[in-house]
């Protein structure tokens, strides 16, 4: 199963990843990060197809795409 991890210490909440995900499985965290942002998070990992589009658009290299 593919899924992603977001490094909350790098994420700046631009949500480019949220907008680009073809499966709309990303969302905005309700918890504020140390940086002062609401980082992106994967709300529905079960929908992830591992296409890497989120990683490709992320300007802060905050996303790792994994496969379990």
């Amino acid at each position: 199963m593919p899924r992603i991890e977001v490094d909350a210490n790098r994420c700046k909440a631009c949500y480019l990843c949220v907008n680009v995900c073809p499966k709309q499985c990303l969302g905005k965290s309700k918890t504020i990060s140390k940086k002062g942002y609401f980082p992106a998070e994967q709300e529905r990992p079960q929908d992830c197809i591992g296409c890497k589009m989120c990683y490709v658009m992320c300007p802060d290299v905050a996303i790792t795409v994994l496969k379990d």
Binding site: V20, Y37, K52, V56, M57, C58, P59, K67, D68
Partner: protein, 248 residues
């Protein structure tokens, strides 16, 4: 077993980047890191960081870097490349840096066919200093020094660097990409790969221009900035390969 499909390339350090949310600079940094790693040249790469928002780029690239005076990247890269021909030398520059104060350096590096790779970030604005007009600012685009929008009668027209440098015999590879969509990001990476491969193969002066969003000084949110790239920037700065003499 967990396998990694995509992660931060090792050619980038772990230092978080300081760019504004959604800024194109970070995407291009990652593409450069990936390219250096995939071509196995990250251990002999030397970068030249500009004056501009990317002034701290030397903290983000894991290779050796110098931070040059405004606009002088191609001259500094020339010196490094000539004294260390085995090094893979790249200059990373903004539009104020490359097309204004550094116009002479970029033109003459191309004239001499210096075997260097130049990454040119065109965001049509002076980002670092707060949004003054750049040589690449679009007609009608508002800047602090063009408060009513750029007027060709007063400030002339935007300058298209790829098209201009393509007239110079010494330039070998010139391409313009964008980082507004995944498709354009991946295309830009192909151009970067070619521009670095050309240096490895001693083909010579190669430059990739990247149309890059600056939400902050375009006074736009991130999605509006992508829209500005699509509807305003790309019509003035068409994407594609303008010269590819390595292919001959």
């Amino acid at each position: 077993m967990t396998t990694i499909l995509a992660k931060k390339p090792n050619a980038l350090t772990n230092v978080p980047m300081h760019y504004c949310p959604g800024c194109g600079h970070g995407i291009v940094h990652r593409l450069i890191g990936e390219t250096l790693e995939e071509l196995h040249i990250d251990d002999r790469a030397i970068g030249v960081a500009p004056v501009g928002c990317a002034v701290f780029a030397d903290s983000y690239f894991a290779c050796d870097c110098v931070q040059g005076a405004h606009g002088r990247g191609p001259a500094i890269a020339t010196g490094i490349k000539r004294s260390k021909p085995q090094a893979i030398v790249f200059s990373y520059q903004g539009d104020g840096d490359l097309a204004s104060i550094g116009m002479a350096e970029i033109v003459h590096a191309a004239v001499r066919n210096e075997n260097i790779t130049v990454i040119f970030i065109n965001n049509a604005i002076y980002g670092m200093t707060g949004g003054q007009m750049a040589p690449t600012t679009l007609v009608g685009q508002v800047a602090t020094t063009a408060p009513k929008g750029r007027d060709p009668k007063l400030q002339g027209w935007p300058i298209n660097m790829c098209e201009m440098l393509s007239q110079i015999t010494g330039s070998k590879f010139l391409a313009r990409g964008a980082v507004d969509t995944p498709q354009n990001v991946l295309k830009t990476k192909q151009y970067l790969k070619k521009a670095f491969e050309n240096q490895v193969n001693n083909i010579g002066f190669s430059m990739v221009e990247v149309i890059s969003q600056c939400p902050t000084n375009w006074h736009a949110d991130v999605q509006q900035a992508l829209e500005f790239v699509r509807t305003k920037m790309i019509p003035q700065y068409p994407l594609g390969v303008f010269k590819d003499e390595g292919a001959k």
